[in-house]
C-alpha cells in the first residue's frame, strides 16, 4: 500500500472556526490532491499540487486554501468552516501524469469532518 496518512481521521468543529487537515506521504510522489466526497456527487477536486509551493484550484475550491512547503506534506485549510463543508475529505498522490503510469492516484484513508 502507498504510504499516505491523513490527520485527523475524524473531527467535529463549529461554524466559523478554522480547520486544517494534513496529508502526509512517504512515497516522494510529485502530485498531491485534495478531494471531498459527498453522497450523489462522487469525488470532487478541491485543490492540487504539482510540486513544492506549486498549487492550483479544482472545481470546488471556494472556502478552502492549501499549502505545500515540503514534498511529503499537503495541508488543506478551511479558514472559517461552514456546515456545507461537512464531508469526507480524501488526499491522493500520483507519481506521474503520463507514460506507463498515466495519472494513477493512490488514496489516503480519509478524514470525516462535521461542522455544527
Amino acid at each position: 500500500d502507498a504510504g499516505i496518512t491523513q490527520s485527523p481521521r475524524h473531527k467535529v468543529t463549529e461554524t466559523g472556526t478554522p480547520v486544517t487537515l494534513r496529508c502526509h506521504q512517504t512515497e516522494n510522489h510529485r502530485y498531491m490532491y485534495w478531494y471531498r466526497q459527498d453522497p450523489g456527487h462522487g469525488l470532487r477536486l478541491i485543490h492540487y499540487s504539482y510540486g513544492v509551493k506549486d498549487t492550483d484550484k479544482g472545481e470546488v475550491s471556494d472556502g478552502y486554501s492549501v499549502s505545500r512547503s515540503k514534498t511529503e506534506d499537503f495541508l488543506l485549510t478551511l479558514e472559517s468552516a461552514t456546515s456545507s463543508q461537512t464531508s469526507v475529505y480524501f488526499c491522493a498522490i500520483s507519481e506521474s501524469i503520463s507514460g506507463t503510469l498515466g495519472n494513477e492516484q493512490f488514496f489516503g484513508p480519509g478524514t470525516r469532518l462535521t461542522v455544527l
Binding site: 502530485y31 490532491y33 450523489g40 480524501f90 503510469l101 495519472n103 494513477e104 493512490f106
Partner: protein, 113 residues
C-alpha cells in the same frame, strides 16, 4: 473538457450472477481510463486502468473492463459476483495533457443473497 457519466447510481445483482457497471466519457484527446473501488468506510483502491494497447483490461478481484473508443465507453464487468464485492465503484478519466482526474459520481453495487 473531460467528463464521466456513470449511468447507474445503484445496481442490485444476485450472488454468483454476472454484472456490468456502465461508464461513458467525453474527452477531446487520448484518454487514460480508470476504475476504482471503495469498500465501506475506506479510501479508494485502483481496480484497473487503461492507458493504451489492448482494449480489454483485466484488474484485481476478477474484474475486467473494455475500452470502446467509438462508443466512448469503459464498462466494468465481472462474470460472477460475491458478497465481498459490495462496494461503490468509480469510473475516472484523465489524459496526457492534464494533471487531474475527473471522477464519475459512482455506482453502488448491492449483492443479493
Amino acid at each position: 473538457a473531460q467528463s464521466v457519466t456513470q449511468l447507474d447510481s445503484q445496481v442490485p445483482v444476485f450472488e454468483e450472477a454476472p454484472v456490468e457497471l456502465r461508464c461513458n466519457y467525453s474527452s477531446s484527446v487520448s484518454v487514460y481510463l480508470f476504475w476504482y473501488v471503495q469498500y465501506p468506510n475506506q479510501g479508494l483502491q485502483l481496480l484497473l486502468k487503461y492507458l493504451s494497447g489492448s482494449t480489454l483490461v483485466k484488474g484485481i478481484n476478477g474484474f475486467e473492463a473494455e475500452f470502446n473508443k467509438s462508443q466512448t465507453s469503459f464498462h466494468l464487468r465481472k462474470p460472477s459476483v460475491h458478497i465481498s464485492d459490495t462496494a461503490e465503484y468509480f469510473c475516472a478519466v484523465s489524459d496526457q495533457e492534464d494533471d487531474k482526474i475527473i471522477f464519475g459520481k459512482g455506482t453502488r453495487l448491492h449483492i443479493l443473497p
